[in-house]
Symmetry: C2
Subunit: 387 residues, 2 copies
């Protein structure tokens, strides 16, 4: 079982803080956006006497309300197509375990969300990476690369859209390409759409929109980023494939139920005014524009403009991103501050890739981002391991 | 992956209710005892602005307070020996995954908590059952039975104490026997102690009390039953074995964090007055005395007196407990009511065992239990499949 690459620098950050250094956390997708008050109030105003198990698939009232949320996103489902999960993490686990057997292969464009590796290990499944490239902003690799990677053991493709860690927003054409591949080879398409609302260059095409692929698509969803409710641990597995849902339901029953409180929060979120995402999105867009501009203004740095989510990948003029990110924490400060980023190596499955790339989560306000970029700019001048 | 045997009768219960029949739910460990007000208030009074991820091992403040809870139970640990989990279910999963490889064998006295099967399937581990018997109240099987079951693939023993589904409370001698076995054969001892406080015949001996077995014992704990907080989904994996804890921590990091809200609830619970469990326990004892007396007064029924938890196993004069439990729901009523119980077959791993046994969870008040027993008494006269 691999360690979480995002969390392994934590001890160095803690040590820096103990020395009195301010650490700008651009390393993890923990937004600073406030959780909507009506969501927090839904929990505070709960008035039951016994905190009971919910239904293993989640509260029926919540699932029924989610149908209207998905309908707004042109995803037509019923509440029986949904299993409420403990975070998006459990939705991924249930999807893998319900669809894949030991030794099966799952194709994922790399760099990808590092914990897919952990879930694959737990499910005894082999991850087969296909390289996407920073030069074209991490667009979907060409169809030939998929065809080459498909073997008799291939059972699924994972697509995260908009993407973590790259921020890439897949086009309608790319989604159509994925549809054709999964239909042609009879594969599952696991669609991680945690960042659905955060698109700055056009609208997201959901895997659930792909006509004809309904039996192939397993949507893995979460309220964590959407409503800044990471600690609630509420997600959802959604699919029109009855057989997969029935299998996933057995895993859901074994763990009894998802957490009760944050289901109340998630249910209240459906009633947020329609402009909620406009406001949040505008804030993230401003941050994205700021961080991308600042990064590309630093000599030797290249950062493609991400179309969605709240991550940017940057190529830096350095020898080794793991060493550099650690050096930032244990040997550097500017104005008594430093910046924490995620080394990109943790997002690549192929050893040796991403050594001069980092992921930056723009989850801090513009002022903090500017200060963090000041740090990075100075750090890149001082860092001994230049390339 | 097996279906949850406790939940498969649910559609029949729903159909009975639609016909206007009152169903006494003795089938599932969902207590009717109110969740303590100070616990619910801790959640209601929360005043953060962002519902953030907690530490992957759970909030440090909660883990530090748990140290005092365990100290009261003569379990000496530090907060670094604890990983807060999403329910006891996740503690069991983490324990299995951290300690066992595919093909490893784990010995469990049967009947046992049915979901161990599900977790074993997910971990690709083989469950090897050893039969315990209703005649002696489901005491620990003799040591020779363990010795016979141990192979080169055996890696662990699971003990649930006090036991679900049997209510059996293991004696100090039996725990010593288990200690000697796991030390002799270098096995892990997974100790599920969800019902620690609910002992009516003496005190529980925790696996964490076993001197010399510290590196073998993995405690799987939960607040679900202790504080009637099943829906919170908060448990804990506790061990002095650093290597196991480090491995479990990787799984904890992959799923990011346990639910935030119910950690507040669990933390507040540590401040409950010392008599909290006295009151709850007195209530459960009254219910136990009632149900055991009523059961043994029915001709042909035998129910050993359970020493702990809130379950009783009864042998009934019937042909098939699965058919009988379903018949109670779809073909029987008395005073427009019926009773729902868990067929014991679901708790035995060996096919054919437990066919004339049922598990009754005494999670309803004495009045409801008496009405449920009235139903059962009449039902056993009317049921066509007598033995």
């Amino acid at each position: 079982m691999p360690s979480s690459p995002i969390r392994k620098l934590v001890p160095f950050a803690e040590a820096a803080k103990k020395k009195g250094i301010k650490v700008f956390h651009l390393n993890i997708g923990q937004p600073d956006i406030e959780t909507p008050k009506i969501c927090l109030d839904a929990v505070k105003n709960s008035d039951f006497k016994v905190l009971e198990y919910s239904h293993s698939a989640g509260n029926e009232s919540y699932r029924k309300k989610l149908v209207s949320y998905y309908a707004k996103n042109n995803i037509e489902i019923t509440h029986n197509d949904i299993i409420i999960t403990t975070g998006g993490s459990e939705a991924i686990m249930f999807g893998f375990m319900a669809c894949l057997d030991a030794g099966d292969e799952v194709i994922i464009p790399e760099p990808f969300y590092a914990n897919y590796n952990g879930f694959a290990t737990q499910s005894d499944v082999k991850v087969v990476p296909i390289k996407s490239n920073i030069e074209d902003g991490f667009a979907l690799p060409p169809i030939e690369d998929f065809e080459k990677a498909i073997t008799k053991n291939t059972k699924a493709i994972v697509v995260c859209n908009p993407n973590n860690p790259t921020g890439y927003l897949y086009s309608a054409e790319e989604m159509e390409t994925l549809k054709n591949i999964v239909i042609k080879h009879d594969l599952f398409l696991f669609a991680d759409e945690a960042y659905r609302e955060f698109c700055y260059e056009g609208k997201q095409v959901s895997a659930m929109h792909l006509k004809g692929a309904e039996q192939h698509v397993i949507l893995m969803d979460t309220i964590s980023k959407r409503y800044s409710a990471c600690g609630g641990r509420i997600g959802a597995l959604v699919t029109k494939n009855k057989e997969v849902l029935d299998a996933a339901m057995k895993f859901a029953q074994a763990r009894l139920s998802p957490p009760y409180y944050a289901q109340l929060l998630g249910e209240a979120a459906i009633d947020l005014p329609d402009d909620y995402f406009d406001i949040t999105k505008a804030e993230y867009k401003l941050r994205r524009d700021t961080i991308v501009k600042r990064l590309n203004a630093i000599p030797g740095v290249f950062c493609p403009n991400p179309g969605g989510a709240f991550y940017a990948m940057a190529r830096l003029p350095i020898d080794d991103c793991d060493l550099f990110c650690q050096w930032l924490l244990d040997s550097f400060s500017y104005n008594n501050a430093t910046v924490m980023m995620a080394p990109a190596t943790g997002f690549y499955s192929t050893i040796g890739l991403g050594k001069n790339e980092v992921r930056l989560a723009y989850v801090l306000n513009v002022d903090a981002i500017n200060q963090a970029m000041d740090c990075l700019e100075v750090a890149l001048k001082e860092y001994p391991g230049k390339r």
